[in-house]
Symmetry: C2
Subunit: 194 residues, 2 copies
Amino acid sequence: MSIQLKLTLPDWLSAYLEDGPRFYETPAARMSLAIELAARNVLANTGGPFGAAVFDQRSGLLAGVGVNLVMASGLSLAHAEMLAISIAQQRLGQINLGADGGRWQLVSSAEPCSMCLGGIHWSGVKSVLLSARDEDVRAIGFDEGNKPPNWETALQSMGVNVTRDMLRAESCAVLQAYAQRGGIIYNAGKLGAR
Amino acid sequence: MSIQLKLTLPDWLSAYLEDGPRFYETPAARMSLAIELAARNVLANTGGPFGAAVFDQRSGLLAGVGVNLVMASGLSLAHAEMLAISIAQQRLGQINLGADGGRWQLVSSAEPCSMCLGGIHWSGVKSVLLSARDEDVRAIGFDEGNKPPNWETALQSMGVNVTRDMLRAESCAVLQAYAQRGGIIYNAGKLGAR
């Protein structure tokens, strides 16, 4: 018997990829989608206030989606960026999202935590759009882990284009809504036996 | 239709968990297992020269196993530590591996890359045993990403016990064997369209 690691996206999230191809032509439209995913994740009670997606930079084709599913899946790796990257890799049959002249772009409603920062490195993506800042995420209580202070320039020195603060107020509004609903801030080592 | 992220362990690896409970009582026995997994992964051609496992610190019960399955799975997150942590969380039904007085221990045949370092943070484990050094892994060509220079003390300040250099020569021998076989060094952004 083979052991499988299984992670199922909620139906509402799967629909973005299953209901025919969707295109998001402008950077703002792509970030709006990432923030929309974060907001829907909060409303649907499927997890933390974070959303991410992978797009073809040229056509705007949506190739991967992710939200924070840590509590729903029981897996601490189930962050929005990790899922969006993995779903895109699985659907495209391609590990290196930086192939074809850096074709694929990761868009996230918040700056990456320590794990997702490394996940971005390994995915090979050459373009990253980010919204809420690390400090915004920490302000509602999440512990993002120990990140290299030079993370932005380090990504840039690897040839990754980084754009920050896109629609930051909109993403912060979702973070605030989550905090006000009393959403779980499931920090590392701070949960009970689940 | 729900989209699933799927990752299947090779049969030889699943057997460690499926063939009844196994116990590894000493730290050296646990590290020997992690290195054995790395070596078998190389011989079985299932991936890179890295192995990891999660144990109950008290009884030595094996709760999770992982090897590098990046090429086999097509997912860049499929590192040994990420899988060992995830499989343990899935089997135990418990996200926080630091619960019960820091019960679960992660043992890895090599020091964590930038992604796994964050993965360790989020798993909540309070004890980590490591073998080959970051520099040993880079010496055969892997780009481990941009890690905070103070990663060891940062983990310790979060209450994580870190033991390094355990059976380092044995783990390095596996790294060397992989390099000599011409194993793929699939660095970020350096693969073709797969």
